[in-house]
């Protein structure tokens, strides 16, 4: 018997190399062309705290979600497992492998029906010391054991190790030795573990990257040449990647003093004609409220990436949540038009960022890419990201529009006016975050305020017309309809497939464009289903409330909502679908 879908967990302390193990496993898969998705979780300690890493591999298609439970769990230290006990579930029939020299204490083992899982012991540390000469290689030993017992792409994994430590010979050799020792040990175990092997064929190598890295790649592709940001978990990878690569492309990187400055810098760069972006998380987005209004008011293109985490205030910095929705859509004083896009997976982080730049430039407006920790920090194996997406540049004034009396905010059918940029002769204008007339001159005239508000909001119509492609999944009509957003995509998609297997017809609606909302598409969707389920990770049910501003929702709908912290599970969604299908 073999399987095409397996989820493997590794748990230990930070020092145990848990994440490295996960990355080698996922890296091996990607090298082999096998799709995978990897998530990690950490305790609050910066170093040495408890760490878990889960990799799901599929040989029958792309991986959309993390997998609710693990099939095989490697415990490098029971002490550290304790912290994850309520979070990591081992599937019925699953196996837990732990270090022979690390006895499991009563109450430390996984919660899931003790009887239904098998326990195996492998002398991880001893083998590491003996075969690799260092106990540090115990993660590699574990990997080797798993690789062999599960039939994972071992050669590709070894290749991933070698590439990772290409420049560090000693480390490389120790790791490879540990891995090989594990493989060898695994061969001995084979069969006794009783886990189905993972069937897979070698394919074209895949990229392995995180949503945050995909955002950065998307920005570079779209022509971003200026980034200003302030580090904040879980978005810092965007900043870090661009700090290295922007200078390579002649772009500019500034680590700002805070988030207010970051967006101010972006606005400045954009005024000078450079495509510019910042990235942050909830606390930073809150701090940018006033500046976002300035971008909207002065009609300056600006891309803001918000990688959501648990809130409010400092909240839970390392965990995902969908609770910045309200602020993204409604935050900031005054009538403040802005665009919000929510990527659904790692590849979409790339595409959404490209879209964000295109929208920002075409419509001269702030655009928020509303990502979250789940999609931002997980790694996915993906095929190459498209390098043929259109790239839009902003509308510059024609030569005959320039000169005295240049109307920076000229009335136009779609609300967009040609924008001169610093350095353009005859394009000089004086403008303000104060309400202004077509020239940019300050005014407090009631009629002008109304007219200019209308101009700014009109742009949203253009965005909606051009970009309002929501994602719909499943059959054309169905008993059950699921509406969800952003990173909920994966679990919803998997749940739909599972429901289908159970004979339940369900479909789903995921707006990639959150603001302006694809209202017509949504209305059509609502008409196509009998029972509605709203899915979101926000205690306050922000999405449900927001949807109601778009379209009345059936009173008998199910609102599947909760605080973030734990990623959305297929089982939660499936359960709701089952209930609703009754």
């Amino acid at each position: 018997m073999s399987r095409s879908d397996v989820t493997i967990g590794v748990v230990g302390s930070g020092g145990d190399g848990v994440v490295t193990a996960g990355e080698i496993l996922a890296g091996g898969a990607a090298r082999e062309g096998v799709h995978c998705l990897m998530i990690s979780a950490f305790g609050p300690q910066i170093r040495g705290g408890e760490t878990s890493c889960t990799v799901r591999l599929r040989s029958d298609g792309a991986v959309h979600a993390q997998g609710d439970a693990v099939d095989v769990l490697a415990v490098l230290s029971w002490d550290d497992f304790r912290r994850f006990r309520s979070e990591i579930e081992v599937r019925r029939g699953g196996v837990v492998i732990s270090d022979s020299d690390d006895p499991v204490k009563e109450g430390d083992e996984p919660v899931s029906s003790r009887e239904a899982i098998a326990f195996a012991r492998v002398p991880f540390t001893r083998l590491a010391k003996e075969k690799a000469g260092t106990p540090l290689a115990k993660n590699m030993v574990a990997l080797g054991v798993l690789g062999e017992a599960l039939g994972l792409p071992a050669a590709a994994m070894r290749g991933a190790i070698e590439k990772r430590y290409a420049k560090k010979q000693a480390v490389r050799e120790a790791n490879v030795k540990g891995f090989d020792a594990g493989l060898e040990h695994g061969r001995a175990l084979d069969g006794t573990l009783g886990v189905e092997r993972f069937a897979h064929a070698a394919g074209k190598p895949l990229l392995l990257l995180s949503g945050n890295e995909a955002v950065a790649l998307g920005a570079l592709y779209a022509g971003c040449r200026f980034f200003a940001g302030y580090p904040i978990t879980p978005s810092s990878e965007v900043l870090q990647f661009l700090s290295e690569w922007l200078p390579v492309y002649g772009g500019k990187f500034i680590q700002a003093e805070d988030e207010l400055a970051a967006l101010g810098l972006v606005i400045g760069a954009s005024l000078a004609g450079t495509k510019a972006m910042t990235a942050t998380s909830g606390p930073g987005l809150s701090l940018m409220s006033e500046m976002m209004g300035l971008a909207a008011m002065s009609e300056v293109p600006a891309v803001i990436v918000d990688v959501q985490r648990g809130g409010p205030a400092t909240g839970i910095p390392t965990k995902s949540e969908q609770s910045d929705l309200f602020h993204a859509v409604f935050g900031g004083h005054g009538d403040l038009p802005r665009v919000v896009l929510a990527p659904t997976d790692v590849a979409d982080c790339y595409a959404a960022t490209v879209d964000a730049f295109n929208i920002a430039e075409e419509f001269q407006t702030p655009v928020i890419v509303l990502s979250d920790q789940f999609v931002g920090q997980r790694k996915e194996a993906t095929t190459a990201l498209p390098t043929d997406m259109p790239v839009v540049d902003r509308l510059l004034p024609a030569a005959d529009e320039l000169g005295t009396g240049f109307l920076r905010y000229r009335e136009s059918a779609n609300g967009v006016s040609p924008m001169s940029v610093v350095g353009m002769k005859g394009g000089e204008y004086q403008t303000a975050g104060i309400e202004h007339d077509e020239l940019g001159h300050p005014t407090s005239m009631v009629v002008l305020h109304e007219q200019m508000s209308a101009k700014r909001y009109k742009k949203l119509e253009g965005v909606a017309a051009k970009y309002a492609k929501a994602l719909t999944l499943g059959p054309e009509r169905a008993r059950v309809g699921v509406v969800a957003w952003g990173s909920s995509y994966g679990a919803v998609r998997d749940a739909l497939a599972a429901a289908e297997r159970e004979g339940i017809a369900a479909r789903a609606f995921l707006p990639r464009l959150i603001q302006p909302f694809p209202g017509q598409e949504f209305a059509a969707f609502l008409a196509s289903v009998e029972r509605l389920i709203v899915v979101e990770l926000s205690f306050a049910a922000q999405f449900d409330q927001y949807l109601r501003t778009i379209h009345p929702l059936p009173a008998d709908r199910t609102v599947l909502k909760r605080s973030g912290g734990a990623h959305l599970r297929l089982s939660e969604v499936l359960h709701a679908i089952r209930e609703a299908s009754r």
């Binding site: 290295e244 990201l385 320039l402 610093v422 350095g423 005859g426 300050p442």
Partner: protein
């Protein structure tokens, strides 16, 4: 933009934007505006190569009156926008302007970092020792004991000296002018505009409406040019011209060039090019993620 450029000479009046200033009659900011026109003419700055950025306040209205790229942004946040323009387009002459409240109450975080980075912009503060636009509350520069709308019992706080702050923050050019003395103000501003690095010019610019009509009369006799033998590279000496009592020293207090923000960026760029002389195509870049 246009190719056919006949050489023009800009006269001060050419820098008028066409918007009429709405400051109170007698406001010190008129003189600052005039100094801007004249210094720009002196340096023959091209309007399209010049950006004037401000925060919010009476003084922050100045960019609206100058024929250049003018941006009147948010209270306290002129400098980030100014730095963004400069970083993205180094050939631009970037001038940030604003009030004492704007720069020193809500804005010192940005002021501090712009100075620390030695950002290549000129920052002109119109110090009237009060909040003008909001009609007369105390600023961090308001003299102790002064009765204002927010200090009816007399301001209990010690005022600060903007030039002292600028020097402490790391500004590499610091000067003080007086809007009652346009003659000395124009060359000062012209020097600031030509300086490579963060140049801070504080102009004592009376608010006749909320600090009384007497300001000019009181201040005028106190004006003292900084002596010719002052060594502006000497920080300690420069500090002697701060927190003055009964004197208003005008001139260049401090001048001490060092690596600027743009120098730092150029250094980074060099390093990046050295490491990767040929920037990879987008498809090539992705391949870095092949594990």
């Amino acid at each position: 933009m246009s190719a056919a450029t006949t050489e023009v000479t800009f006269k001060p009046g050419d820098y008028k934007s066409g918007i009429n200033p709405i400051w109170c009659a007698g406001c010190g900011d008129y003189a600052v505006l005039n100094a801007v026109y004249r210094a720009m003419a002196e340096l023959q700055l091209k309007p399209w190569e010049t950006a004037v950025v401000s925060g919010i306040g009476c003084s922050s209205r100045l960019p609206g009156y100058v024929a250049a790229y003018g941006f009147n942004g948010l209270h306290g946040r002129a400098l980030p926008v100014a730095l963004g323009i400069k970083a993205a387009r180094p050939e631009t002459r970037v001038i940030a302007v604003g009030g004492d409240g704007d720069g020193l109450s809500i804005g010192p975080g940005h002021f501090f970092h712009a100075a620390r980075r030695n950002a290549d912009v000129t920052y002109v503060m119109m110090d009237n020792e009060i909040y003008g636009l909001t009609k007369g509350q105390a600023a961090p520069t308001t003299p102790r004991g002064e009765k204002t709308k927010s200090t009816v019992y007399g301001n209990p706080e010690e005022p600060i000296d903007p030039c002292e702050m600028a020097i402490s923050f790391g500004a590499t050019w610091v000067g003080r002018g007086f809007s009652g003395e346009l003659k000395s103000l124009v060359p000062l501003l012209a020097e600031a505009l030509q300086f490579k690095g963060f140049a801070f010019l504080c102009v004592i610019s009376p608010c006749v409406t909320f600090r009384g009509d007497e300001q000019y009369k009181t201040l005028k006799p106190l004006v003292t040019p900084i002596p010719a033998d002052h060594d502006p590279t000497d920080r300690v000496a420069a500090m002697r011209y701060t927190r003055e009592v009964g004197k208003l020293s005008v001139g260049v207090l401090y001048r001490h060039p060092r690596q600027t923000m743009l120098d730092g960026m150029a250094y980074v760029r060099e390093q990046a090019v050295a490491r990767r002389p040929q920037p990879p195509t987008m498809a090539e870049l992705q391949r870095n993620f092949l594990p």
